[in-house]
């Protein structure tokens, strides 16, 4: 760095703060809709994610010690009325697939001391492994706790020869001491985008799917481009009356104002987790309304 640069170009030092809708004109805004009614808790998404994103299998002991590395996890909840017995403790569980919510105003981005996690123009919350120093502040500030830290040097142990042959060549293998999380399969997105760019168009709906959405046998996970109003995901967001950058959501306000709308609850069942924290997640969950068990 020359002295001239240092004195002349101070505007370069400014880092743009993540802001809602700062990339409003961008052609892509990747988003998801997860239908909890359809989710059977089969864990196929988790398995697909392990295969796609080179996640290390840490083993039972380390898993129990809290060193698990699953970017998407299936959470089980038992409600008040669930018929759960000692004989079949898993019976009556409700499932919730949880991955990085790719928040538009992400708490993790503000606190990272080195800017290793930042917002991309297509609405992703990206993680730069090479820049990460491992302060774990992002994980501390994440309300969803979906960030996973490399507590050990997994590339040394997780894929003994010849298992390293099955690693996905498009995805970096992470070393110890860096944070990682769901990327919405950014390698697939970039692949599709560059292919579309060569053909002089934008990515078509359904042309690219994340590994979890692709593997889901009951099609509970929908993935697409929210900036394209004709895409499935955009239509679903619209049908569920979820607005990306609104707080509070209009549907919730209306529901309070107009009791008549309450009968529409069966249809409008989209919500985002911790809406009141105003992280503006890119993942909409559809409430489970069926009463029968899977």
């Amino acid at each position: 760095m020359s002295f001239d640069n240092l004195t002349a170009n101070w505007s370069k030092l400014r880092i743009k703060r993540p802001k809602i809708d700062q990339y409003k004109e961008a052609p892509y805004k990747w988003a998801m809709v997860i239908d909890l009614d359809a989710c059977t808790g089969c864990n196929a998404c988790t398995t697909a994610c392990y295969a796609e994103n080179n996640l290390p299998v840490v083993g039972k002991d380390r898993f129990l010690a809290g060193h698990q590395m699953h970017w998407i996890r299936i959470e089980r909840y038992w409600g008040e009325g669930s018929k759960h017995t000692h004989e079949f403790p898993e019976k009556g569980a409700q499932f919730l697939p949880m991955m990085c919510q790719q928040c538009e105003a992400a708490p993790c981005e503000i606190v990272c001391p080195v800017g290793a996690t930042h917002h991309t123009p297509d609405g992703l919350n990206s993680q730069v492994y090479n820049r990460c120093v491992g302060s774990r502040y992002c994980s501390a500030n994440c309300p969803y706790k979906v960030r996973y830290f490399n507590w050990y040097n997994y590339p040394e142990t997780s894929w003994p020869n010849p298992l390293e042959q099955q690693l996905n060549p498009d995805v970096t293998v992470r070393t110890k001491g860096v944070m990682e999380k769901c990327t919405f399969c950014v390698q697939r997105l970039n692949d599709a985008k560059s292919k579309a760019r060569t053909e002089g168009r934008t990515v078509r709906d359904g042309e690219v799917l994340t590994a979890c959405a692709q593997a889901c046998p009951s099609s509970a996970i929908h993935f697409g481009n929210l900036a394209d109003p004709s895409s499935t995901v955009a239509k679903m967001w619209m049908a569920q009356q979820v607005e990306l950058a609104d707080f509070p959501q209009k549907k919730d306000e209306q529901r309070e104002q107009d009791e008549k709308l309450a009968k529409n609850d069966a249809v409008v069942r989209g919500y985002r987790i911790f809406e009141d924290l105003r992280t503006f997640p890119s993942v909409v969950y559809l409430e489970r309304i069926r009463s029968s068990e899977v």
Partner: protein, 482 residues
């Protein structure tokens, strides 16, 4: 001479409050020199015991750190969601310890509290060393310690700057400037004493002290420059000290987690810092008093004043602690309220109550003169207060991880293993080792300021003898009969 019938003079005499005897007025100046210089020579067995004990602890900490460095942080029992463990809690603890030195040497200097003079030097050294220890914790805590310089804002070829909105970057900057200023302040205040060492020492030590005392001759011009510069650095240090711990508090206050997202954290942290620092000064006061036979300088009246100061700060801390609870309790943030209830009744409830009892109730022992002047009791009380303050930091960090926003990640119990505990004990060893080395190399009692104190005491004695009324007009306290 005084006219004993002058009404104003009589009134002035009546209102004369006898000053407690901080230090004897009949200590010869050569005796002060000899006493302090003796502390630099021929270590006593107690010194070697403390030094090698702390060295052993430090080496054990190094061993644990090597294991952690080679294996990864998982070996230190950190996990999801307990990603910070004890390191950050201990980091805040050490940053807090560093505030008392500034309080004694800079704030009380500006306020002309003369009783600080025999004890501020080691408090200032404590500031420096505890800041160094805190800095080590930032490094130990990082997952990729070999790339810690990414956090520092320095011009580099890749135009890759740290994220200036992150409190960790503020931390790195604030701690760096505070440490630099503290070291300068410590060294600068020592120059006249180093000149005394130079005059008394022989051989290679003389060369060392000659280089360190940078040609101090004690001329009027030097003294005048010295006073002005010392005051200037002191004034610069006070806002730095306050800002450092406020910034450490923003590590939590800026984040979003329940139990951390509290506006009152910066003053709360500063009060806690001064509190634990004063308690640590009492501990070190007693250790130095016995290790180096400084009974004549580190006197009981000074200890008493230190205790009163600690009590006052403990009450400030209690108040701020209470308003933090109150503002959460009467606030509308349900998550924060749940976090507070979890702290008081959850799995860490024992620590929470211990923190409140040790931090707010134990200091009432300092209000009794019999306890204040009883040295073994004060040793125990000061250690208890510091234990309470360490638990306070632990209670800030850990329960929020255990019981944050997301119910799926709630964990009932988390406890560190030998690696984390070893590194923390190692940090105490490292601090004590540096401190003991400092006391052997540099005069840990400020000679020239103790002389000032003795001189002022002689002056006031003379003054009182000259101005004493022929007959006492009001019943005077016993010790005033001269």
């Amino acid at each position: 001479m005084t006219n004993p019938h002058d009404e104003t003079e009589i009134e002035a005499e009546r209102r004369f409050v006898p000053k407690p005897k901080d230090i004897d007025s009949d200590i010869a100046w050569a005796e002060i020199n000899a006493d302090v210089m003796r502390s630099l020579e021929r270590p006593r067995p107690l010194f070697w015991f403390i030094f090698f004990g702390s060295l052993a602890l430090f080496l054990w900490g190094c061993y644990c750190e090597v294991i952690q460095y080679r294996t990864g942080l998982g070996i230190a029992a950190m996990e999801n969601p307990h990603v910070w463990g004890l390191y950050i809690a201990t980091f805040i603890f050490w940053i807090g310890m560093s505030h008392s030195g500034t309080l004694l040497s800079a704030i009380l200097h500006i306020m002309h509290a003369d009783w600080r003079k025999p004890i501020y030097r080691f408090a200032e050294a404590m500031t420096t060393f505890s800041l160094m220890t805190a800095g080590l914790f930032v490094l130990v805590h990082l997952g990729r310690i070999w790339q810690f310089y990414y956090v520092v804002a320095y011009p580099n070829e890749r135009w890759a700057w740290p994220n200036f909105s992150s409190p960790l970057v503020w931390d790195a900057t604030a701690i760096g400037s505070y440490l630099t200023t503290s070291v300068i302040f410590l060294y600068f205040g020592m120059i006249p004493d180093l000149a005394i060492c130079r005059d008394e020492a022989h051989g290679i030590r003389r060369l060392f002290y000659r280089a360190m005392s940078v040609g101090w001759m004690g001329t009027d011009r030097q003294w005048s420059n010295f006073r002005i510069t010392y005051l200037t650095i002191g004034c610069l240090l006070i806002p730095l000290a306050v800002s450092v711990h406020s910034i450490v508090a923003t590590d939590f206050a800026v984040s979003q987690q329940p139990g951390w997202h509290t506006t009152s954290f910066p003053p709360y942290f500063v009060a806690g810092a001064l509190y634990s620092g004063c308690a640590a000064i009492i501990t070190l006061f007693i250790i130095l008093r016995y290790t180096f036979r400084f009974e004549q300088y580190m006197t009981i009246p000074i200890l008493e004043k230190l205790c009163k100061l600690t009590f006052a700060i403990s009450m400030v801390w209690t108040y701020l602690n209470f308003i933090e609870y109150a503002s959460v309790w009467y606030g509308t943030d349900q998550y924060a309220k749940n976090a507070l209830i979890y702290r008081a009744t959850g799995t860490y409830a024992g620590f929470w109550w211990a923190m409140n009892i040790l931090g707010s109730i134990v200091p009432f022992a300092l209000t009794f003169k019999a306890l204040r002047t009883h040295i073994p009791t004060m040793m125990v009380v000061s250690l208890l207060l510091n234990l309470g303050m360490w638990i306070e930091r632990f209670m800030i960090v850990t329960p929020t991880f255990a019981h944050g926003y997301y119910p799926w990640m709630w964990t009932d119990w988390w406890w560190p293993n030998y690696i984390q505990v070893g590194i923390i004990l190692g940090s105490f060893g490292w601090f004590t080792m540096l401190f003991m080395l400092f006391c052997k190399i540099f005069p840990s009692v400020s000679m020239y300021e103790v002389k000032e104190m003795v001189y002022h005491r002689r002056l006031s004695k003379k003054h009182r003898a000259a101005h004493a009324p022929a007959q006492p007009l009001a019943p005077q306290p016993q010790q005033e009969a001269t």
